[in-house]
């Protein structure tokens, strides 16, 4: 047996995984109820089962019908962009908007093709000034600018 359409094969697996997870989890922990008084487990169990079933169809079709290969994953932009966002969220409270913005711009820029430190520095500065003026001063969003110990 060969996989003729890798894209669909993996998509099918993904759907089966999500479907089974939701269905089993809901069936195990939430009351199913009856059709005239549905419990919290009813809808997710049914939907999860349906999703797993559709996933199975997608998976089986991928063994029969030819389709595209899965394009290569590029991990550098992926990790840098996602990491930058998470870092921003967890830095802005304790370290303040200025440091969080600089870190986000720096980290995400490392995910691009060209990295010029001078440009990144200027861009960070511009974005910090803009954020402070528009979001903190203009819209009154309650963000600290600097780490709490310096304020």
């Amino acid at each position: 047996m060969t996989i003729k359409s890798p894209k669909d094969f993996w998509a099918g697996l993904m759907f089966i995984g999500f479907g089974l997870f939701f269905a089993i989890w809901a069936a195990k922990f939430y009351q199913f109820g009856m059709s005239h008084s549905m419990g919290p487990g009813y809808f997710p169990t049914v939907l999860g089962g349906l999703l797993a079933l559709i996933g199975l169809v997608v998976l089986l079709r991928s063994l029969a019908i030819h389709g595209g290969k899965v394009p290569r994953f590029h991990f550098r932009p992926l990790l840098m962009v996602l990491g930058g966002c998470v870092a921003y969220g967890y830095l802005i409270g304790p370290a303040g908007l200025i440091i969080a913005t600089a870190v986000l711009v720096l980290v995400s820029a490392l995910g691009g093709h060209e990295f010029r430190l001078k440009e990144v520095a200027i861009l960070s500065l511009a974005l910090i000034v803009f954020s402070v003026l528009v979001f903190v001063k203009g819209l009154d969003l309650p963000f600290p600018l600097w780490p709490a110990m310096f304020e």
Binding site: A11, V57, Y90, P142
Partner: protein
């Protein structure tokens, strides 16, 4: 005459200086992101949602709506001048628009696109104004069974009209429905799929999901593609179309407006579908199909009118039923809910100034666009020379601020990153994110209506087929599914989306 009275009320609201200002801000921002490739209306509206917290509901909706239809104007400019569609809905405009520009007729192409869009905007504003009130009246009579069937129909239609694999789109809808259930179950108070994370008790914020699936995933995908964008800007010399241009274009504008207005209302419809369908219609009905792709003015006039008409009429289901037909409308519903307004047919009677103010502002916004856009063409094109390496960190900063400010909780940034990852994986596996977002929004509503309907019918599922309106939606959904399964129609559907590839 009631409609006249209502429109007067609407214009009274829309021309107040503050609302005019937000309309202007909206359409300018819309044009800006329409020009810039890689920044779509979904991510932009999601980014700006926090900004709208402090506005009045009318001003918030006026600005967000301006972004959506403004993007249709901006997208056409870059399609014509530099062969880069700034917006997915102007991909087809590249085909003939850029060819016209190469023949030195960029001016007429831009002018026809703008005038066609304006005409379509006027007509579709009227369509919204006349079609919405009776629809809302009908919708007021809907019970849970009707709502459930309507949502089933809507979701099925959305998958049929989306491009790509149908079965995968349905799977994505169900995944969205499931993810929408995360949080506290309103009926029993049980926490579902929260894994003892307190932040998940209120559910996953859909703004966060939308930004992750569309914004973040798009940036990562853009960063993969090597090669600098080179921009050769054609000089725009004369703007006015010739008499012959008008003669050829006016019918296309009419047809595009019609096609766009109808497709915009359908679930899953909107600007994107409208422009593709209109191009097909023009090519089929033309006496000179061979000119298409070589600078036929109909190929610009039709789709450009259609995408603007579609963008506007897609407000109808949102305003009358409280049901989004595409992700942009889902965000609008989110904006309303943040303002404490439950979207649905009662909005029109409870808040007429909101409803009619928005409609009037659409017409004003279209006027602003046509007046502003042509003189500003040069400026917009200059923006294109801005390299992506400056653009994407800026977008990320705005997205992170937007998401963080929703509840000042770093957890939201984490969730956005998780959905960014999911969006990236889905893009690799050719699974469309749009159906998932619709399912995500409708998940809790669907469950609620299903429960109520089944409770009222004492567990009898045939209720969905014995109530006439509900049966109508269910039958329509089944017919759609059967139709798409037929090989002949399936081929046509694939053809319609083939231009995009």
């Amino acid at each position: 005459m009631e409609i006249l009275h209502n429109l007067v009320l609407g214009f009274g609201v829309a021309v107040s200086p503050i609302n005019l200002l937000y309309c202007l801000v909206g359409v300018l921002l819309g044009t800006l992101i329409g020009v810039l490739p890689g920044v779509g209306p979904i991510a932009t509206i999601a980014m700006l949602l926090p900004v709208t917290f402090s506005l009045s509901p009318v001003a918030a909706l006026i600005m967000l709506a301006g972004i959506y239809y403004g993007a249709q104007y901006g997208g056409s400019t870059t399609s014509i001048l530099v062969n880069i569609p700034g917006e997915a809905s102007s991909v087809v405009t590249c085909l003939d628009g850029y060819q016209m520009a190469r023949q030195g007729r960029a001016g007429p192409a831009l002018a026809i696109a703008a005038l066609g869009s304006f005409f379509a905007g006027c007509v579709s504003t009227l369509v919204v104004a006349t079609a919405a009130p009776p629809l809302a009246e009908v919708a007021l009579k809907f019970g849970p069974a009707e709502y459930f069937s309507l949502m089933v129909f809507g979701l099925i239609a959305a998958t049929v009209l989306a491009h790509g694999s149908l079965i995968k789109a349905i799977a994505m809808v169900i995944l969205g429905l499931l993810l929408g259930l995360v949080g506290t179950d309103v009926n029993s108070g049980v926490l579902r799929f929260t894994f003892d994370v307190p932040e998940l008790a209120d559910g996953i914020g859909f703004v966060t999901v939308a930004m992750g699936m569309f914004g973040i995933a798009e940036i990562i995908s853009n960063l993969e593609q090597r090669g600098a964008r080179e921009v050769f800007v054609t000089k725009v010399t004369h703007l006015y179309p010739t008499r012959n241009d008008f003669k050829r274009a006016w019918k296309a504008v009419l047809r595009g407006t019609g096609v766009g207005s109808v497709l915009g209302i359908l679930p899953g419809g909107g600007a994107l579908l409208a422009s593709f369908a209109s191009y097909m219609v023009e090519k089929r009905s033309s006496k000179h199909p061979e000119e298409f792709g070589k600078g036929a003015i109909e190929g610009v006039a039709g789709p450009e009118s259609a995408n603007n008409a579609g963008a506007q009429t897609s407000f109808i289901p949102m305003l009358t039923l409280g049901i989004p037909s595409n992700p942009v409308m889902a965000l609008m519903i989110g904006a309303l809910m943040i303002q404490g307004i439950a979207p649905g047919p009662q909005v029109m009677t409870d808040k007429p100034e909101l409803f009619w103010g928005l409609i009037a502002s659409m017409w004003i916004g279209n006027l602003m666009l046509v007046v502003l856009n042509l003189p500003l063409v040069g400026m917009w094109v200059k923006l294109l020379t801005l390299p992506y390496r400056f653009l994407f960190p800026s977008i990320l900063v705005f997205m992170c601020i937007g998401v963080y400010s929703l509840s000042n909780n770093p957890f939201d940034c984490l969730i956005m990153a998780v959905f960014g990852l999911l969006g990236y994986v889905c893009a690799k596996l050719e699974c469309e994110p749009a159906p998932m977002i619709l399912g995500f929004i409708l998940g809790p509503m669907m469950e609620e209506n299903l429960r109520r309907a089944m409770l009222l019918s004492r567990g009898d599922a045939t209720v969905f087929f014995t109530k006439p309106i509900s049966a109508g939606f269910m039958i329509a959904a089944i017919v759609l599914l059967v139709m798409i399964a037929l090989p002949n129609i399936r081929k046509k559907r694939d053809e319609a989306f083939a231009e995009e590839a």
